[in-house]
């Protein structure tokens, strides 16, 4: 046992020399590089976030984009799936070359696997954003995060046939050494350009400026929402409340799996023909790829067969003749224009079911028809156009072959009473004899044209044209309609329901009227875009998007009116008299026109409005006769920041107090520190402004231990008596006299029958009074001696018969009964000598006196040390707030007290308070009552507390630009969370 213990002891001594561990190295730095592309991104900031549970997590790093859209973000993070995101900046649309700003709430993302300490590459494009949406869907289906991210990227990559993350897209405006080669990089760039071209086409379908509202970034958001809902690109997405699925549309273009495939394939080919294409790739290089994509049955599109959508089919427009009932003569060169996304591959002409052949040049299709080879009268000409992807359409034109004619070229309806009409005539080689209108000669112009002025009356005006040529006559009867009545608007079907802002930041339900100037519209900022919502009453109502609804008709007056199809309706949008959106044509939905109050239908800048701005929608309808009517719809809009998760509160001031020793507590006087931290993320999709205030008072307390020595004293009053005994009252030859004073503590008083013992009054104590010393003060001097009042005026009579003398007197006050002849008081002393008639008398004497004598006494228990616990208390206020943008990595600077919080950013707000100056006490002797001697109070700081109210008032206002900061209506959110007490104690 001893041996073992000795060995153990030696081992301990050896191991005692251990020097301990070292601090480990920081995690090695890695990076993620790549390119942001949807067109060339020329500005913006890339952020990389942790991606946890399908949502964006902590920001891991960020970097500015280079001018050609490349980025490189250094990271010091664990190996994990990360979200690469760009949520601002600007880029150039491939198809239009328009510089486009990424709007609030829009973003492009990609998921990447970051291996700690290594360099990874990740492109960020609309396709990777689509993959992010697909991954989010897969995660909701229970697939693990990393597996979901990889599977989503593989699925999108296989649908497009290149690696969407690892391939850096070659943008079509860029030249490269591999020009002309169909590399993955070139394919990627062309697909992105196809999306740009597609959104330019959608802009045209919606009647908006190219890429002003409908653009690549916006379309990416719709693609994201589409695939996130059900894992497929099928035009089915969640409504804005995420409570039900609905059909998606991008503006007026309904989306479905067929449209995605066909439209993207078409625009892929279209971009090979685009003047901005510098890739060296031509139409035929991409034809097979486009055809494969258009007919893809990939799972991304639900595995369904692609059915060519009507909206992507070629539109055939006659270039040389007006359609329907047009009379043709001689040789007709029938030319058509094919309005198509890609040129028609073949154009076939058929006349009366007889094939005429294909156009020699499908890009400029035409066919020569000698009308003289056909019977006079009506004929049907059919034109069929087919593109390389199989989209086709057929249009039939009614022709009338007639070589001797007179006709009218003016519109058959007008609003002019004096109407100049013109037309053409043909003589088929003959000579004009006369040409009459209403029996009057018309003016013959060159090139077989004519004109004349007719006076019309409201309603139908039958007109007869007659052409004569050497006995051959042709008469043309027609009717000119005079319509002077403008079209009318009908809003009786009702605009949508809406919420109006009311006092106190609340809202009331109501309904839109034509004029809504009294109350601004209560508009949550997550309801300001359509984001794929079709413009239909049910869909708009279902997503709480307010809209104006109107019908337009042309009143039937004198039997004349334009049909609905003949009426053109346009709208423009103005704010404070300034036109933001110029007139554009509205499309009828069912039987009415709908104008949603949204960025896509008004203007993106409507979000820069304050509640006092006058918003105006001007709708103008024009009938076939040229009569116009305007409808003005007005409103004001109050953008309300939509709900988001309220800040999480953390008490952050404790470290300051924990790190401050009690002896250094003076450092905590007049000390500003961050007490409460509020963290939140702007998940509203829009930037907003916050104003922070705090009207509460915080409280600082110093609980002090105080000690003081106290001494209380009372004065005791004693009554002292003295008597002067008469030497001997029986001495006959002298009057009674004082034999000398002596103090007595009692005396015998004669009460008429006996001697009573009398004593001085009992001592009395005066009121207490303090003294500042342990020593008693000197008592007052005794009072002077004064005669004691007779107790009862009773004296004992004496008669001494000493012949010849007779001595009589009365006496009182004797010291004891043995000294009866030595009273202190003698009265009526009279000596009668029988031999002398004159008696001898003496004055009355009384030698019984009293006085007050004083002594000072300490009150019981005094002197003693008295301990108290006074509290010193002071209020202090919040001195300010510090707002930090964790994503921007910088403090947010207030403008007029308002801080702008960008969409998607994670914010930390710190409440700053400044402590008051508490009095510093530090008398150590208070701690030991046994030795304390001071009559001046000493104070001993014991426990200091600073109670800080955690709450704050956060006013939220939509960010409508710096100019509107002070004009916005704000909603207050009170953050109540009690108090936090910081304590420092000895």
């Amino acid at each position: 046992m001893l041996r073992h213990a000795a060995v153990l002891f030696l081992l301990i001594l050896i191991t005692a020399c251990s020097d301990g561990n070292n601090v480990p190295q920081p995690r090695p730095i890695g990076s993620i590089d790549g390119r942001i592309a949807a067109g060339i991104f020329s500005a913006g900031q890339v952020s990389i976030y942790a991606y946890q549970g399908g949502t964006r997590g902590e920001k891991l790093g960020g970097a500015e984009l280079s001018s050609d859209g490349h980025y490189s973000v250094t990271l010091r993070a664990t190996s994990q799936t990360v979200l690469v995101e760009i949520a601002n900046g600007r880029y150039t649309e491939d198809a239009s070359g328009i510089d486009t700003v990424v709007a609030d709430g829009q973003r492009l993302t990609a998921l990447a696997w970051y291996e700690s300490g290594t360099v990874s590459t990740c492109a960020v494009t609309p396709l990777t954003h689509l993959a992010t949406g697909l991954a989010a869907y897969k995660i909701t289906q229970g697939i693990a995060l990393r597996d979901a991210a990889v599977a989503a990227q593989q699925e999108i990559s296989s649908a497009f046939n290149f690696d969407i993350v690892g391939t850096s897209p070659l943008l079509i405006g860029e030249t490269t050494s591999s020009a002309g080669l169909l590399t993955d990089s070139a394919s990627y760039g062309l697909y992105l350009a196809a999306i740009s071209n597609l959104t330019q086409w959608i802009s045209a379908q919606n009647g908006t400026q190219p890429h002003q509202i409908f653009n690549s970034i916006g379309f990416s958001q719709v693609l994201f929402e589409d695939v996130r809902a059900d894992g497929k690109l099928d035009g089915i997405g969640w409504n804005q409340d995420a409570t039900a699925l609905m059909n998606l549309a991008y503006g007026t273009v309904a989306l479905d799996a067929s449209l995605y495939r066909m439209a993207i394939a078409q625009h892929l080919l279209a971009m090979t023909l685009h003047p901005r294409n510098q890739t060296g790739l031509v139409f035929k290089d991409l034809l097979l790829k486009a055809q494969t994509f258009a007919n893809s049955r990939h799972a991304l599109f639900g595995g369904t067969e692609m059915i060519p959508p009507l909206v992507t089919a070629p539109v055939i427009v006659p270039a040389s003749v007006t359609p329907q009932t047009t009379v043709q003569r001689g040789t007709l060169n029938f030319e058509a224009t094919i309005n198509a996304i890609i040129p028609a591959d073949t154009v076939t002409f058929t006349l009366d079911d007889l094939a005429l052949g294909n156009a020699l040049d499908p890009k400029h299709p035409g066919m020569l028809i000698n009308t003289t080879q056909y019977a006079e009268g009506a004929h049907a000409l059919q034109v069929r156009a087919t593109d390389a992807l199989g989209n086709h359409s057929t249009r039939e034109f009614a022709l009338y072959f007639d070589n001797f004619f007179v006709t009218l070229t003016s519109p058959l309806i007008t609003n002019k009473t004096s109407y100049t009409v013109n037309g053409k005539y043909g003589l088929n080689g003959g000579v004009l004899t006369s040409l009459l209108a209403q029996g009057q000669s018309v003016i013959i112009d060159t090139d077989n044209t004519w004109h004349t002025v007719l006076t019309l009356t409201p309603g139908h005006n039958p007109v007869v044209l007659r052409l004569d040529s050497l006995g051959h006559a042709e008469q043309y009867d027609f009717t000119l309609d005079l319509d002077v009545t403008p079209p009318s608007f009908d809003t009786r079907a009702g605009h949508s329901a809406v919420r109006f802002s009311s006092s106190g930041g609340n809202s009331t339900d109501g309904k839109l009227s034509d004029t809504n100037d009294l109350q601004a519209l209560f508009t949550p900022t997550d309801r300001t875009e359509l984001k794929g919502i079709p413009i239909r009453r049910a869909d708009l109502d279902g997503n709480s998007v307010p809209y104006f609804a109107l019908k337009v008709s042309d009143p039937l007056m004198n039997g004349v009116a334009s049909t609905a199809a003949q009426i053109t309706v346009k709208m423009s949008y103005e704010r404070n008299g300034l036109v933001l959106a110029p007139p554009r044509e509205l499309k009828q939905v069912d039987t009415e026109f709908l104008i949603p109050l949204a960025s896509e239908t008004l203007h993106p800048d409507w979000l820069k409005s304050n509640p006092n701005d006058k918003q105006l929608i001007r709708v103008e309808a024009q009938d076939a006769a040229g009569n116009t009517q305007q409808l003005v719809l007005t409103f004001r809009v109050d953008f309300v920041v939509t709900n988001f998760a309220l800040p999480v509160l953390t008490d952050v001031g404790a470290d300051l107090f924990a790190a401050t020793p009690f002896s250094q507590r003076a450092d905590l006087n007049n000390r500003q520190f961050a007490s409460t931290e509020y963290s939140f993320t702007n998940t509203t999709g829009k930037s907003f402004n916050i104003f922070l205030s705090d009207k509460v008072q915080h409280q600082a307390q110093n609980m002090i231990e105080s000690m003081v020595r106290e001494h209380r004293v009372q004065t005791k009053t004693n009554t002292e008596w003295r008597v002067g005994q008469i030497l001997n009252a029986l001495i006959l030859n002298e009057c009674p006299k004082n034999s000398g004073w002596q103090n007595v503590t009692s005396i015998l008083n004669y009460n008429g029958t006996n001697w009573d013992a009398k004593t001085p009054p009992a001592p009395s104590l005066g009121t207490e009074f303090p003294v500042l010393s342990d020593n008693l003060p000197s008592p007052p001097a005794p009072s002077g001696w004064t005669d004691v009042l007779d107790f009862d005026n009773k004296l004992i009579p004496h008669v001494e018969n000493l012949p010849p003398y007779l001595l009589t007197f009365d006496s009182d006050y004797i010291v004891d009964l043995n000294q009866f002849s030595r009273p202190a008081s003698v009265k009526n002393w009279k000596l009668v000598n029988a031999n002398n008639a004159s008696p001898t008398t003496c004055p009355d004497v009384s030698f019984f006196q009293g006085r007050s004598a004083y002594t000072n006494l300490s009150v019981s228990g005094y002197p003693k040390n008295l301990k108290t616990l006074p509290v010193e208390q002071m209020n202090f206020s919040t001195t300010g707030f510090a707002v930090f943008d964790n994503d921007a990595g910088a403090a947010v600077v207030a403008v007029g007290g308002w801080y702008t919080i960008p969409a998607g950013h994670r914010i930390t707000v710190k409440k700053l308070v400044t402590t008051p100056a508490l009095t510093l006490h530090n008398d150590i002797d208070v701690a030991d009552p046994a030795t304390f001697t001071s009559y001046a109070p000493h104070y001993y700081d014991k426990t200091l507390t600073w109670t800080v109210e955690r709450g704050a008032l956060m006013s939220l206002a939509h960010d409508a630009g710096a100019a509107n900061v002070l004009s916005m209506s704000a909603r207050d959110t009170t953050l109540r969370a009690g108090k936090f007490v910081y304590t420092l104690q000895r």
Binding site: L2, F9, S18, V23, P24, Q25, P26, R27, A658
Partner: protein, 190 residues
């Protein structure tokens, strides 16, 4: 306190007829398992080697006191939520022990006492889940007060030289520090 106790011991020794000097001085060392429970960190534990100078003598009524001045270092590994640190502790410890005879050859001393020490935590740092450094923190020092319980057994190596082994448990008053130590002491009666 040790001085006063020494006087007391000497006086009692004289009374009991024991050798004139019953006091012993020595050196002790041993492994200690230290557990810290710091604010803002999950509890952390580490093995360390403790060293001390021991002084012991008779006390009152058949008891003896056991005083030591100790020094030890420990390295706490960091983990997720656990701060790493290098701990250096200086302190004094005094316990009073009573002898309990269990068998004829085994009569351990059981004791209890107090501990006062100053601990210096340097090289404080946090790491991520892969063990990489995340953040370093400033050195901090704290004063600990605690109670100790111990059990000691001794062997004689000669007239004036003794070997003892002691199992000791320290509990700090604020529950921030715990330590279990197995001391091996070499004591000399001078």
């Amino acid at each position: 306190m040790v001085f006063c106790a020494a006087l007391t011991g000497a006086a009692q020794a004289g009374t009991l007829g024991l050798p004139d000097n019953t006091a012993r001085i020595g050196y002790a060392a041993g492994p200690a398992y230290v557990s810290i429970n710091a604010a803002h960190s999950v509890p952390n534990q580490a093995w360390s080697v403790a060293h001390s100078v021991v002084y012991t003598d008779w006390f009152l009524a058949g008891t003896r006191y056991w005083a030591l001045l100790r020094y030890q270092q420990a390295d706490f590994d960091a983990g997720v939520g656990k701060l790493g640190a290098h701990l250096t502790t200086y302190g004094a410890r005094l316990s009073v022990q009573n002898n309990f005879r269990v068998t004829e050859n085994f009569a351990p001393w059981l004791g209890a006492g107090i501990d006062l020490s100053r601990s210096r935590y340097s090289r404080r740092f946090s790491v991520d889940e892969d063990g990489y450094l995340v953040e370093t923190f400033a050195t901090r020092s704290v004063v600990n007060t605690g109670v100790v319980f111990n059990a000691t057994h001794e062997w004689s190596l000669g007239r004036a030289l003794h070997l003892s082994m002691q199992l000791e448990q320290l509990l700090s008053v604020d529950n921030r520090l715990r330590e279990t130590a197995l001391w091996t002491s070499l004591l000399y009666r001078y």
